[in-house]
Symmetry: C2
Subunit: 384 residues, 2 copies
């Protein structure tokens, strides 16, 4: 397996972006990414584009207008998707392209435009990320799936809504220092508990927002990477596991089993253990998702996630900082972009370029990206 | 670049499949594929799933229910797409996975369920494969795009509707001997010319049908392939090129430039020239598309495609047999499955297992799969 490294990163402003179409958001991230890598588009061999929801893009194949608009034609490009883990699927594909020797330098684009359609339409379409035949048909939407997990987690382990709320508080605080974040406003536990109920126990501030945005990274082969940059960030571990499309067929409601499997694959490939990992991005689409991720990824025992956030372990400055960029919760969650955005943050952390949210001396990072309610989980491990 | 070979193929019956859902169609193809390779699912490392139109699947991420239903969980799987070339994108991805060393044995699934939704909805959704901002908005649907190309081709080169019709006649004749084909009925030139007008000059019989169906192949690393089968079919050349999302920005209307570029990449990688190639699958979504493919792939000069079909060169028994399985035109075109189905046919031809439609002594084959109206083109070259 030939090595591949991240040699450039770019990010659009996340938020309600009435000023930019899908293709324009992608361009915003790509332009910054090329500039960061000090490359021109002519030096890129191919691209891989992650857009999750063609229904919202109103294009059958949303990678076509993006590749066209940013100027990739006639170079190779296609679309990959894995629901909310679409961005990580794109990065995995680019890694395979480079490691196989087919490409030397690959641009990865993740983008989504979610706020243009009426919210009920988006909620319906997103709900169709669950099983349309057996679960969605009975009224489940995304907050419902995660609310079921939260209720069971509280029941089995005594996890409290206050602990869930602390995830939101931490991630909003981290986003204060991320200029790309959708929400840059400090909140407190009372604010979360007192916000409108979405699906018991999850209130509005337990849920990530709908977001427009894009992120981009450039991966390169070892030879090219060393020419392009003095600080290549090596993608050294890849994990991908899948699970039942219906929640009712999973072995547990208090975790996402595919996270554990994907972590094992990635850590084995990267030859790292938990104590080697300095900075982590997890998929906090709802506060309970971050608590479960702590446990499923093995940063604490099952059921101890609430305590981990309470004790400040996952704060910047804590033992294992999580979602230093604000996470899906406060940075925003343009679904096709999220996995790529996580890679952008880890790359900046490992380069030492994360500014006020820098984790001192970070050498190994991990990103964790969940498709739908756990149908797919991608874990990537990165090394300076 | 490590080698990869096709070691198993499977195919569902194509057609109006009211008896089977998307996941059931996929299973039908996968079951046959595993049986063909004499493998159990436990011997598969990962899968790649191509489904093009989530709007018709009514699932945001249609690979989830498929992976679940066929029993892939918890193994790696994600979705790839490139409009009507989705199946070939899946094969390219599987090749990269194996060549990189990440996987040894990969299942590729292509599937689409198109006849369940009302035809006007399908026509609208398919039309959105064109540029929604600049062209679809003015009323273009797929037959319209290809009709414009046909008109220009007739104008510039004197190509006749009779010549276009001969493509349909040939492909219907070839489909007679393909038990998986949607249409197994001989037609003649008069039938094509006299069928209802869809978009001048294209009549109903110039157009491929809407189809439900699935196809599957298994790719394996060199070491595994030699253990699994005595007749591995090596995927030796890969080409992928893209072009403008709008037809109006293309350099020509009488061809699909990305086909020529993709052919050059694939033939260079495979170290073959036209005279080495024994059997070809091209993307004949409309009869004019097959004529243009002859030219764009270099099997004749630009403008000579009409003559090629007239002279019988592309018939089984001719110098360069094209669409021996009936092509999209008569076999049917379940968009996500088509690229995989092409690979199934070439594999059977190179194994010498194509029955009555066998091209004698075929050693090298090529498949050509077009996304939308030429926004992407994949070319694969295979060797016995």
């Amino acid at each position: 397996m030939n090595k591949a490294a991240i040699v450039g990163v770019g990010h659009s402003k996340f938020g309600v972006r009435r000023d930019a179409s899908l293709r324009e958001l992608a361009f915003e991230a790509v332009r910054e990414c090329l500039s960061d890598a000090n490359l021109s588009l002519s030096e890129i061999d191919a691209s891989v584009t992650g857009v999750c929801i063609s229904e919202l893009a109103r294009e059958v194949n949303p990678s076509f207008p993006i590749a066209d608009y940013i100027g990739m034609n006639p170079k190779p490009d296609f679309r990959v998707a894995s629901a909310c883990a679409t961005g990580s699927a794109a990065i995995r594909t680019a890694w395979m392209g480079i490691s196989s020797g087919l490409y030397d330098v690959v641009l990865v684009i993740g983008a989504e435009k979610m706020t243009e359609s009426p919210t009920p339409v988006v909620t319906e379409v997103m709900g169709r990320g669950g099983d349309v035949q057996w679960e969605y048909a009975y009224g489940t939407t995304f907050p419902g799936y995660y609310a079921m997990m939260a209720n069971r987690h509280m029941h089995e382990f005594g996890t409290t809504h206050e602990q869930l709320a602390m995830v939101a508080v931490k991630n909003h605080r981290n986003a204060l220092d991320n200029p790309y974040a959708q929400f840059r406003k400090e909140i407190n536990v009372e604010k979360v508990l007192g916000s409108p109920m979405v699906a018991y126990p999850l209130t509005l501030f337990d849920c990530c927002p709908l977001t427009d945005g894009a992120a981009a990274v450039i991966l390169a082969s070892e030879e090219k990477a060393r020419k392009i940059t003095d600080t290549p960030i090596w993608l050294v571990g890849l994990g991908l596991a899948t699970d039942s499309h219906t929640l009712s067929n999973r072995e547990t409601l208090v975790g996402i089993p595919a996270s554990t499997i994907a972590f094992k694959q990635a850590s084995k490939m990267a030859k790292v253990t938990h104590k080697d990992i300095d900075v982590v991005e997890v998929h906090d689409c709802f506060t309970i998702a971050e608590i479960m991720a702590y446990e499923d990824l093995g940063f604490c025992e099952k059921g101890e996630g609430g305590k981990l956030i309470e004790e400040g372990v996952t704060e910047i400055g804590g033992e294992i900082p999580v979602n230093t960029d604000g996470g899906l919760k406060a940075k925003g969650h343009p679904v096709g972009a999220t996995g790529v955005s996580q890679t952008v943050e880890i790359t900046k952390q490992l380069r030492g370029e994360a500014g006020k949210r820098q984790v001192e001396g970070a050498e190994v990072g991990l990103s964790h990206n969940v498709g739908s309610s756990g149908q797919s989980v991608f874990v990537h491990i990165y090394r300076r």
